[in-house]
Symmetry: C3
Amino acid sequence: MLSKLPAMANSLLLPLSLVLMFSFHGCIAQLELSQRQFWQNLQEQQQHRLRAKTQCRIERLNAREPSRKYNYDAGHYEIWDSNSEDFECAGIEFVRYVIQPKGLYLPHYINAPGLIYVTEGSGIHGLVFPGCAETFESDSSFSSSEGHESRYRDRHQKLRRFRNGDVLALPQGLTYWIYNDKDTPITIVALVDVGNDNNQLDLQFRKFFLAGKPQASQSQGEYRESRRSREQGSQGGRGREEEQEKGNIFAGFDQDLLAEALDVDTQIINKLQSREDERGVIVRAEKLRLALPEFEEEREREREPGRGGYNGLEETFCSAKIRENIDHPARADVYNPRGGRLSTVNSHSLPILSYLRLSAQKGVLYKNAIMTPHWSTNSHSAMYVTRGSARIQVVGNNGRRVFDEDVNQGQLLVMPQNFVVVKKASNEGFEWITFKTNNNAISNQLAGRLSAIRAMPIDVLTNSYGFSREDAWDLKYKREEATLFSPGSKS
Amino acid sequence: MLSKLPAMANSLLLPLSLVLMFSFHGCIAQLELSQRQFWQNLQEQQQHRLRAKTQCRIERLNAREPSRKYNYDAGHYEIWDSNSEDFECAGIEFVRYVIQPKGLYLPHYINAPGLIYVTEGSGIHGLVFPGCAETFESDSSFSSSEGHESRYRDRHQKLRRFRNGDVLALPQGLTYWIYNDKDTPITIVALVDVGNDNNQLDLQFRKFFLAGKPQASQSQGEYRESRRSREQGSQGGRGREEEQEKGNIFAGFDQDLLAEALDVDTQIINKLQSREDERGVIVRAEKLRLALPEFEEEREREREPGRGGYNGLEETFCSAKIRENIDHPARADVYNPRGGRLSTVNSHSLPILSYLRLSAQKGVLYKNAIMTPHWSTNSHSAMYVTRGSARIQVVGNNGRRVFDEDVNQGQLLVMPQNFVVVKKASNEGFEWITFKTNNNAISNQLAGRLSAIRAMPIDVLTNSYGFSREDAWDLKYKREEATLFSPGSKS
Amino acid sequence: MLSKLPAMANSLLLPLSLVLMFSFHGCIAQLELSQRQFWQNLQEQQQHRLRAKTQCRIERLNAREPSRKYNYDAGHYEIWDSNSEDFECAGIEFVRYVIQPKGLYLPHYINAPGLIYVTEGSGIHGLVFPGCAETFESDSSFSSSEGHESRYRDRHQKLRRFRNGDVLALPQGLTYWIYNDKDTPITIVALVDVGNDNNQLDLQFRKFFLAGKPQASQSQGEYRESRRSREQGSQGGRGREEEQEKGNIFAGFDQDLLAEALDVDTQIINKLQSREDERGVIVRAEKLRLALPEFEEEREREREPGRGGYNGLEETFCSAKIRENIDHPARADVYNPRGGRLSTVNSHSLPILSYLRLSAQKGVLYKNAIMTPHWSTNSHSAMYVTRGSARIQVVGNNGRRVFDEDVNQGQLLVMPQNFVVVKKASNEGFEWITFKTNNNAISNQLAGRLSAIRAMPIDVLTNSYGFSREDAWDLKYKREEATLFSPGSKS
């Protein structure tokens, strides 16, 4: 690229750098401090979790399905039992919900950062950034009794389309709603990171609805009741808000005070408080029409860092990129045509994750393929199976095997930091989404081209294991693949 | 160094930027990464608190006055009972003290970051920055027996004047003292953020005095005794050091060892240890004369970022700006002539707060005015009433109303993150200072021009609440004001 | 200063600065924000620890020796009892081990950041950075049966030599091994910072061995059994893995699954799992030959920031500087020929420490010399005595003396943040290494030229202590030395 510079400029390079050296030593110093910066960046990526316990007895992990279900007018909501050592020590909650066509998940916010994965369907959602301008105009203007239509054109904040394969970041405390404007159900799974330091209170998952009456009709018939400990009182257990849900936020305020604050009639307040609303929190909204620019696959790229400059709050916060699709095969970060593929979304590709301190990885293992034994040095992992099945083993310190089961679609497995996991897909293959409690999770491997074994000298291996040099050679070099392995010759 | 640049360089602007583009990609990359930087900055502003409990049962908040009082020679000290769910879950302590004219609050340090608000009076304080030079000379030199006065001119670190309306930052572990050189009492309220990660030990508030004998004569007659749980042992409760205070730091060391370390006579050590001192920790100091440059209102501006360059430790750490006045009406960040005003001090205006991870907000509501229902997405809030009274309601998750009372001058109310609060001033108006456990607290609103309601499409509102479009229109647009509202037409 | 530039350059200044202004306002803004940056940097250096308790009753500290010893084939391993208030409230573990000549400490990783100090000997170690290239070639190639020797030249990641006086940084989750290729034993002490936020799980110290059978033959005869509480169950106590160690990671997996993943014979898997290996985790490795560039004292300097530019992952992460020697007298940061010397390694000199959030200080006190009474405002301290003995006093809040003993070689003393400590060397002098739970620990002093006393005006001292001005003068100015004091005239 320097070849494009005019010749006369060439003589300038040295003095120019001197100018910069002395005028902008701040910048120069920064350029020089690459190693310092690297470690500081890594440090800034640390999670600072609420660790519930000073002693976690992780004897056995469990692959589990949700333990409780709430049926609503236009969908349902399921939540995993978090009253177990693996959930409590990881400091997470996990939910799954379905929004039927024309279903609206009512506006609400939660008390901890969430990371959403859309397993099926497509829809529209709104996420309210406080203080940001209403930059979208909607077709939903209407003629007033006086007929001044232009005065009544509705404005609101940006709307966003999402579809299956999307990861959506959800900051705590920000109001969001979801609408299914398509003909097929939307299915969503979400990690709620109550142990995250963005939540300053406790390990309870708290939801604050701006509409509806959150207390739902429950259908528990199909679930086993595995919550005996919860009913035995409060010792150690985390209660969940669902048991006590009574109303939305407005319902908690005095009617007259609200009417005065909002400057509206108490009849409007009555509806705001929704005390008689029996639709639950996912409601049917037949007449909902939303203005949205035509959806383009390429759209997000316009929002990526490197474009647009530094144009203030509007450009950075208000129009933040909060979505990334990681399902498309072309998006893969790791690919082996005989093994499978892995796609990672972290704060490098989705900067808001540096605030949430979370990341996710979508994995596909082909029939009988194997994912290398590996561990995460700086995060816990919550793996949800989106398709197929696999045999999975997890080993902790002392070589204790804490998990050894076949895991199937719809199950969740929580794996603690530093524990080693190996996955072998069944005949039907295996697909999953893993949420990690670090915005740049670092993985270590025990086999293959990127393994710790490969990084050590042959002589260390022979002396460590009592190997011959030939054995050590095989161990180090026979599995040439990285991360995702084709089915072994043994199988 | 610019002299080396040839005149022809003028034509170089475009190639210049190319050079810069490729030579200094570090800087350029930074410029490009505005969105990345934004989220990282926000992430760096996270608090990483010691969360005392994994389950907080916040059924009811309380507006409270201090529960314990200590009388000293030239002032008194009051402390709020922190043995309650709201204090423990927020991880804070709160104190108030009065320093009478000629009173000296003895040198000491505390184990956690503090944020001070001066409600009345004016005085001088010293904050010792370790390793910094003694840059002030004092008039208090004296003639030695040998008459070499110049040799005995006293030097010390910078002194700072403060006055009512000031917020003062107080890093943990740094020695400070306060002197009242005026004719009216100084009244101070302070948050001590024991849950802050700058305190690595526990949730106890610990004070380390360098002088005096901290054990004070107590006058508890005027306080209700609400500390029964504390006396029942250690289960769950946080003890306070006041109960056991015995001496200053020097009193804990062996006399001979101290005498040797300080190279002074044991008679001086005796006085240092102050075992017989009955004055308490706020003492009368009639003869205290301090050298201080004439106080100017504008003085701090000289210290603000953007001036002074990068002149090393002296310019950044040793002469750190630790004070900002937020009382003057002209300082307001939010103003409505019919509603009131709000002034915020955070790490943007007072950079040291990025280290303490705290911020504060001064609020004034005029007669019968209303502050919009709002919640903080990233901090707890401790509100102290400085004047007047208001009716306040707080609503938690599930729409549970956890507070609904008239709050008066001198009372403190602790509100958890994400809980929604509305304030309506009484006929006498309402003024308060709120301390927040985040250096850049983010607020969300439920009513007015900046509300989450306003950010959502009309159609979402109609379907959420079963509204007509007219009702939704009223809800969204009738309250045109932002944050602080004039008294409603209903009142 | 701009006026000094020749006229021809003048014409360049405006456009140049405009270019820079608009192209690089990010950088310019940064240069201006020195104070802001300073505090943010300090904030980023905060530790965010798992604080085990909300109430620490630190009545008495103890200088202790290890409580448990494990003998291995070519060395032994000792660990301090962490079941005590000082260890639990500091959130640390401490170990010491000896590797005999030809001893190999088998490859393993730990669950929390460690900081190592080499008290004796010299050796070679490998630390596996995941994803980094194998940049070292070893002499250990061998001829295959087919005779293609070049194909079998072994490659591995960088090896590093260390020697006595080195501080080594050890990130959690990264595999490392140590080999003693010299003729004298290596002795190592190490802090394992289980309370560090890089460990997201609990306060247990967990080790994951890649080889060997960690369960060791124990020799406890020489240790007092001080672990009764541990045997009484799980209440409050932290168990240690040693009690249950059974095997290495490979031993936890199914043989067939491993064989398939690694694509090797089960006979190799058998050796990998090392079920019958009775050598322990420090084994004799007579035939270990390692390729290592000739060791030069100056070698690390080449790796320091400021050299090498920003050449990507390889330059920053993969070849990270993880070692610094702090024993050489010329390395001292504080030196008094009549008192002693202090050398500090923190994230300024060893950037990786900004990620581990740890630092260390080597101290030497000459015969009868005194280290000023001081406290750390932002870290706990774990002091291990490497030579000699000293009388040490520690004073907490309320002037409570929590420690007053002679401390000897091989003992460890844990001192909480903000507690004040004074050290006086015995006739034989005193040497120690202190590990601190902050990458830039800030120290405050009570005596000498850098003391808080010196920073305060004479008048504040006279009024605080009831001194005459002459007394205050003596207190402030008689001990002219800084930090390390010569023996007092009193002694």
